[in-house]
Symmetry: C2
Subunit: 272 residues, 2 copies
């Protein structure tokens, strides 16, 4: 995010870039029409790979990190964007609870979490962080630099709603819960069947969501966008193939992986 793409674009990608710059009205209008039909995710981050002749996403995270890498000059934009997202998704929200990953020892993640909380706070929400990590037994302050710390609290549950205990014995009951946990470790019992709104919904987590189906949908979107830009969909669509029963730590399936990659690349050589 801090480093510009260093690769020089080749002709076709330059033409696409040119289109996007000079026909920004058409592009923006295309996006607005898409948002009418499909709700945009509350937040997200995309990993891009740029070879100079192809520039494609290789992952989309619906529980993004890296808020600490945002350009501080753009903080007002992030805050305004958060306000708009909140107004769209949960306009009645006032108190929100962030459920983070369990990486309480990963300083990058904690700094990211701190920034994310600041953005939400500045967009006019009361924000606290509650962990599903069962090792968090009491409200815990963790220093993230010399001047700042982050407080992570144990989540309590009664009937179908989550809350935090205040020091004075009262309760912090969030209207909405913002997941910043990709649920790759499974869906914790605590957050199942809640009366409170969860953003993004639990089925955006990895137990339900499949990268393979994400890229099927992405391919479809690329086809539509390429009709608008009159460009080759291949330029921005990654090659992908689903492969089952891989286990890298046990070395299982590596041969099949190599084979599949070779076949994928071979079927696309005309392009490279």
């Amino acid at each position: 995010m801090n480093q510009p793409l260093q690769v020089n674009l080749t002709k076709e990608l330059l033409e696409l870039e040119n289109f996007i710059i000079h026909r920004s009205c058409d592009v923006e209008q295309w996006f607005r029409s898409q948002w009418l039909e499909n709700q945009a995710p509350f937040y997200g981050s995309v990993d891009l790979r740029n070879s100079g002749f192809k520039l494609a996403p290789v992952d989309m995270n619906l529980f993004p990190g890296g808020f600490n890498n945002l350009n501080p000059d753009f903080a007002p934009l992030a805050i305004q964007a958060a306000s708009v997202a909140i107004e769209k998704v949960c306009p009645e929200a006032k108190r929100v609870l962030i459920i983070p990953e369990k990486h309480t020892r990963n300083m990058f993640y904690l700094k990211n979490l701190f920034q994310f909380k600041e953005i939400l706070k500045n967009s006019g929400l009361e924000v606290r962080i509650g962990s599903v990590d069962t090792s968090i037994l009491e409200s815990t302050n963790i220093d993230i630099d010399e001047n700042h710390f982050i407080t992570i609290e144990p989540i309590e549950k009664r009937e179908d709603f989550l809350f935090l205990k205040n020091k004075d014995g009262s309760e912090f009951i969030p209207c909405s819960i913002i997941l910043n946990n990709d649920l790759s470790g499974g869906v914790p019992e605590k957050i199942k069947n809640l009366g409170q709104q969860i953003i993004p919904p639990i089925n955006a987590g990895w137990p339900t969501r499949r990268k393979s189906s994400h890229f099927q949908f992405y391919s479809q979107v690329v086809k539509e966008f390429s009709l608008l830009t009159n460009s080759d969909p291949w330029l921005i669509d990654p090659l992908s193939e689903k492969l089952d029963n891989l286990n890298f730590s046990a070395g299982e399936g590596e041969d099949r992986l190599v084979e599949t990659i070779d076949t994928l690349l071979a079927s696309n050589t005309k392009k490279i």
Copy 2:
């Protein structure tokens, strides 16, 4: 806009300011809940008067000028805000037509118009300016400084829609029309009964809208807001009274005006 308020606030206003700063979550949430019930205007500007013991609006313009006075550092925020407003009010819009005031000799107004057009352009719209001024007979470029000019074109009408003629004979047909003309000279025939969407609607113009009723509604809003902030509504509510048959150029009704002001102030001395 460029000068901070120079008056020191007195106790009660300081308390209100304090509330707004320290209880920003409640204030933002109050606004979000209001936007659920009432649509916010597409744009607007408010004139404030600050005596130090009372800080109140004295006018609200639904066809604002002064875009050239916005802090250039905040341009990205203005562009993002415009995108959001467009997405809410006319998401399908691509080409828009701005109908400005007729002040084509007022350089401040033209600079303002130029900035407003830039903001809309940068939010992803194709924007042109068409005047209802019957003296504009052809596309006219007006320099606004050494490097920039603004193009004002005559508006054409066919059946129930407005358009501009392109140089090559084709037509620029806007999806939406953005009024930046307060219609204080009356509603031009050309913009009556249009099939295109007009933002704000024509009845937001001065021929329909009354400052007296604006301040009646404003008073109601102030009462609700003051319940939230636990403050005296008087602090932010202007005193107003409706007076008919005034004519300043003919000097008609000046006595009654003086009398009415005296009575208004006298009935509020307990406060001052």
